[in-house]
Symmetry: C2
Subunit: 729 residues, 2 copies
């Protein structure tokens, strides 16, 4: 019954997304001049998306084939080969579709927002937020419907404890597409941005968003493909991966809750859809109000409704165990605290940004040193929040399930899973706020390029500032949810390994100790420690490759712009139009080429570690091996599974910290520049401003390429290890 | 017998250090003009050291009192309170003495090297290297003699299996002094460097090492107190901590080797002393040879002798188990590979430095991005080397001890311990090469400031370049040894906890399973995961604080230099001398104030985590708790000990990677600047050069403050957890 309700709400979510899209698309689309610019952005974005999804599709098919081959190799896993690959492909297609439709609406909402800004701030905000809400609702609804239907199709009502494991392919498919979407989009957007700035502002001395710059359309396209499509795919995989993880843990609690515990995550996302739709609808701003206030009101309404919905769901589905409701509240509190901490580190009102601005007085070197110091400081408070949330929600879980006859560990971990669900229960609204950012950014660009009067620009500048804030906050939210979910996904991996081991020893001579579970990832064992080291290195190497990719791609743009200025001197005089399309096409090709290497590194490393380490001799085992699953007295060799677990866990820790450093450091640099531009320390064109521009440029690939890609990397690691788990034994 | 031989060689090591010192001090001390500069450096360095050691002494006494109180609190640990505190204080004093004497000779060797450079390159090299060898030999000899005598004094021959645990205080004392020495010195040296550069080169437009700059003596003092004294204390604690760790593991193998296994690490250091003395003596350079070639010859001779000595020691002490000799060879190979990899990332012949230099063409932002990308790439190869070394030496250990009746884990870990010993078996020579750096740097400064002819400057420039290379290489070596030793020290901690648990359950109703050992640091348990997160955050926060300290201290210098220029216009005209002492005194005070906060963070966090988590309820325990040590059926609560273990391990992993990023990134920026200065990409005073100077300045606090302090932090974490272990249960 709960599944049908959830699915129905999922469909309703899709319908309300459609209605939002219709209401946005029906509004005025501005002057022909504005439309010309908007059309150029749209064409560029669509061309990029087409090519990108073609590339990703090829990669996905190759990986699907490998996955099928890997699963077919052993008679133990062969029966699951087909289901796993099917759910992988469906996950990948849904993820791509979520990213694509989100962007489809955004690149049409930008001009409507620009047009609305000519008359009313309120209508502009509503237009941008509703455009963003389309992405938010579609993403969550697709994850809900996709998982729900697969659960049905795989016979979830008959084998409820087994089917969740068959869904891991869906999460992996979603993550894989998300990684490449975020990485390719992130490289595109920052290469275009850095390239356009360096060659336009610095070399040619023309302002930002000047129509004479041949790279200016590529820059605006970047906002859409990087921020909208990338973040959409990112949140889609969060929703999918964390739901699958929570369903697996629910399966472990089947004796307590039955089917309800497994379906709970899907119901939470149904609540999410309702609460977020209402939240988006109530947003309404006065003409002279700060746009952030209006957006925050919507967030509070969403959170309140989500809490109420959560309480109802706990009452009906989890037997009114209020400790578990407490876990959900903890999750929401965590997401709120993450937003507050991110604000502290990235807004110019507070010490960190001001210290960077002050350091700009002594030049770019001290600006950079100070920004890096702020970046390295940022993880401390969020980690304390996450630690408290994990410990408390674990404890609440144990208390809430005191009477249940399962191990304490399973109870506690289910508590952390519910906290994660709580954190994600406003995801659709958060994503709408996030997509608000690139839409308003584009609207500002269109207004600027079509030479609208100053008063309208002021309005779009206000919107743009709010969009920058929402983008920074949602990045904080995304890291926070990744950190909290990490634990849930580790546990799903451990459950999955246990499952595989049970399967493995169910042969003649096999022995399974009654109380054995694979929850021992022992850092004191050499292979595990080596796995941990490799996990940490993966994060560093991936970040390095992503940043280098931006640099290389930006070089292509710089060369093309220089060539265009040389070939056609009329561009600078304003007498002839530059060839925007050529720039767009060059950066598209380069970004897609550059995303393959770092992406494949993430996919292949866990596979290689698992496959190599599973052949390690038993002399690497720690402890006496009593009471271990064994076949004919020989303990099952878990070296591969353990090393991969350590890779996953330490890779996650390293990734979370590095992502915070990059996101917040980059955001702080950006706002330190804006703070100086607002007239502090000499204002625009002062030496301090020049130094701050250097910091901002350094921060760009941090906060918009490597940082957001790391969120996705963390979750991809979790889902890929889940899918490959059977191959590590 | 072996102990007496080792101690005798230790005394011989001290004597040969004395002879080297005499031979250096007896040589010509240059012109009166040169002596005036050298005296100013000496006075500044000695004033800093006096104040620094006073501050450290106060901190050490406070910590000793806390340690005594903590140990006295429980009747189980009270009997060890006095011994632990005594060995702590002796370790601290030895460490301070090692740092001080090394610096004492260096600040006198600098002028002798400068003077020798006026006539012969060979004599200059020999003077600098022998001055450095004094530090190297004293450091290793003191560690050997200190540990040997404490072993005797605590009755090592009667209770050989217990006494090594009583030595952990020695390692902790050494690490504590090393951390503050490296941190205070590192802040001093880079604040003086950055401050002098910003206000001299950038603001006043005078060249480096110009006598008109009031901060120039402070800058030269910094080379001594940061590099000589800091690195001396660093290697002292490495030697001490790793020897204690290896002795503890030797105690676990007492049934196999008896006393010899425990004394083996001390004998290896005796070999180290002999091999390094010979290595230093054979260094001899032709007038037109690259100085690095001569230094490398000495390194090869040292390594060869160390291998031979190692083989002899294995033959007599470890029963000719040649697999174990293989472990030693692996350790030496690891140290060689680390040096090669560091060369690749920091020398201008190779891609990384060249890519940074090329990126400087498009300005400081791309220079910084490219340098950070290189820095993040650097850990990959070293981690592969360390992983291979750990896996192989573990395997060799198991093979070499196949016939012994101890657990595989103990065998394998002893193998990694022997590999660490192998890596450290040329430590004295490496340290001599390292101290060579600041001596030649100072010699160059003295030559520059006393206006010597161009031909002599060329000679000191060559020496200086070699000194920069040796400094970079030894940093690579220091991280490598920290990484390899990390595992050994983890294992010592696990042994120590087991020991404490055995003690704990030896009461009526206590139960100790026969095969139980504490080797389970389970990342899937929430408290352990939180400990791991906190360990990673510690590294980030510490780095942030250290870098911020440099920035703040540099500001004081800038202000003072500006004030001096204003008060006394004669300085810039060259008619009156600036007040060098005032700058030295200001930066001394500021650096010592700034080192306290980050230093105390490292000391207090493990204590707080251990004490808080030991009170966690049993509901956080993973697994059923069968076969656990217990008292009246209640399992011993290991939450505190486990969380600290994870903090230690993940803190170590994060620290190693971050240290590599900072050391190699900083070195690469430095050499990219030098590469451009050599005439590439427009040479000196080009735009690319300006951009490269920004990168170099950013790299300074990375490679000379935060990076080297992280090596010490890693080892301090290991020793502090060893000492505090009894308090976590």
């Amino acid at each position: 019954m709960y599944l049908w309700v959830a699915l129905a709400i999922g469909v309703l979510g899709l319908i309300s997304a459609l209605l939002f899209a219709r209401s946005v698309l029906a509004s005025d689309a501005g002057t022909p001049e504005m439309r010309a610019i908007s059309d150029a952005i749209r064409e560029g974005a669509e061309a990029f998306m087409r090519r990108q999804y073609t590339t990703i599709a090829v990669l996905a098919v190759v990986i699907a084939a490998l996955l099928y081959a890997g699963y077919s190799f052993s008679p133990r896993t062969a029966p699951y080969a087909a289901v796993t690959v099917i759910s992988f492909l469906i996950g990948a297609v849904c993820s791509g579709f979520a990213g694509y439709t989100g962007m489809y609406v955004s690149i049409r909402a930008n001009i409507r927002t620009a047009s609305a800004a000519r008359t009313s701030l309120n209508r502009a905000i509503q237009s941008a937020l509703r455009g963003g809400a389309v992405t938010g609702l579609i993403v969550v609804a697709l994850a809900l419907i996709g998982l729900g239907l697969l659960f049905l199709a795989f016979g979830g009502f008959n084998h409820p404890q087994e089917v969740p494991y068959r869904l891991v392919g869906f999460g992996f498919g979603a993550s894989l597409v998300a990684l490449f979407a975020q990485l390719g989009g992130g490289i595109y957007t920052k290469a275009a941005d850095v390239g356009a700035d360096l060659v336009g502002k610095v070399e040619a001395g023309i302002p930002e968003d000047d129509p004479r710059n041949p790279a200016v359309i590529a820059d605006l396209v970047g906002d859409n493909v990087g921020d909208c499509a990338g973040r959409g795919a990112d949140i889609f995989e969060s929703t999918a991966a964390e739901s699958v993880g929570a369903m697996i843990l629910g399966a472990a609690l089947y004796p307590v809750f039955g089917l309800k515990g497994i379906l709970f995550p899907l119901v939470v996302h149904a609540i999410n859809l309702i609460a977020s739709t209402v939240g988006v609808m109530v947003v309404h701003s006065k003409e002279n109000e700060e746009p952030m206030h209006a957006l925050n009101r919507g967030y509070y309404v969403t959170s309140l409704l989500a809490i109420v919905g959560f309480a109802v769901a706990v009452y009906f589905m989890l037997g009114a165990r209020w400790w578990l409701f407490g876990c959900g509240v903890l999750g929401m509190a965590t997401s709120y605290l993450f937003v507050v901490i991110t604000e502290y580190y990235t807004e110019s009102r507070y010490r960190p940004v001001q210290s960077i601005a002050r350091a700009s007085l002594t030049g770019p070197a001290t600006n950079i040193i100070s920004g890096l110091a702020v970046g390295m400081e940022t993880p401390a408070m969020p980690v304390l929040v996450i630690s408290a949330a994990l410990l408390l929600s674990y404890y609440f879980g144990v208390r809430g399930l005191e009477d249940a006859h399962v191990a304490n560990y399973a109870k506690g971990i289910y508590g952390t899973a519910i906290a994660t669900m709580g954190m994600l229960s406003s995801a659709a609204y958060i994503l709408a706020m996030d997509t608000f950012g690139p839409i308003t950014d584009n609207a500002g660009g269109i207004i600027e390029m079509s030479n609208q009067p100053e008063s309208i620009r002021e309005r779009t500048d206000k919107l743009d500032a709010a969009g920058n804030t929402t983008k920074a906050l949602t990045k904080g939210y995304a890291v926070g949810s990744a950190a909290l979910a990490a634990f849930l996904l580790f546990s799903a991996y451990l459950e999955e390994i246990r499952n595989v081991v049970v399967d493995r020893v169910s042969v003649p001579g096999g022995y399974m100790p009654a109380d054995w579970s694979f929850n021992n990832v022992n850092l004191a064992s050499v292979p595990v420690f080596v796995g941990a080291l490799l996990g940490a290195v993966l994060v560093y190497l991936f970040s390095s490759l992503a940043i280098q990719a931006v640099g290389r791609t930006a070089q292509y743009i710089i060369q093309d712009v220089r060539a265009q200025f040389k070939e056609n001197p009329g561009i600078m005089l304003g007498t002839s139009k530059p060839d925007y399309g050529r720039c767009v096409s060059i950066v598209t090709k380069a970004a897609l080429k550059e995303m393959v290497l770092p992406g494949m590194l993430v996919v292949l490393l866990p596979l290689v570690v698992g496959e190599v380490f599973r052949h390690f001799s038993s002399s690497f085992r720690v402890g006496a091996g009593i009471n271990m699953p064994s076949i004919h007295g020989v303990p099952v060799n878990l070296s591969g599974a353990e090393a991969v677990a350590a890779l996953l866990m330490v890779g996650t820790i390293t990734g979370i910290l590095m992502a915070m450093l990059m996101n917040n450091g980059g955001g702080a640099w950006d706002n330190a520049k804006k703070y100086i531009e607002s007239g502090q320390y000499g204002g625009k064109r002062s030496e301090a401003h020049k130094a701050a521009v250097v910091g901002d440029t350094v921060g760009d690939p941090f906060k918009d390429t490597a940082g957001p890609s790391l969120h996705v990397l963390i979750k991809l690691l979790a889902t890929i290890t889940l899918v490959l788990a059977p191959l590590f034994l």
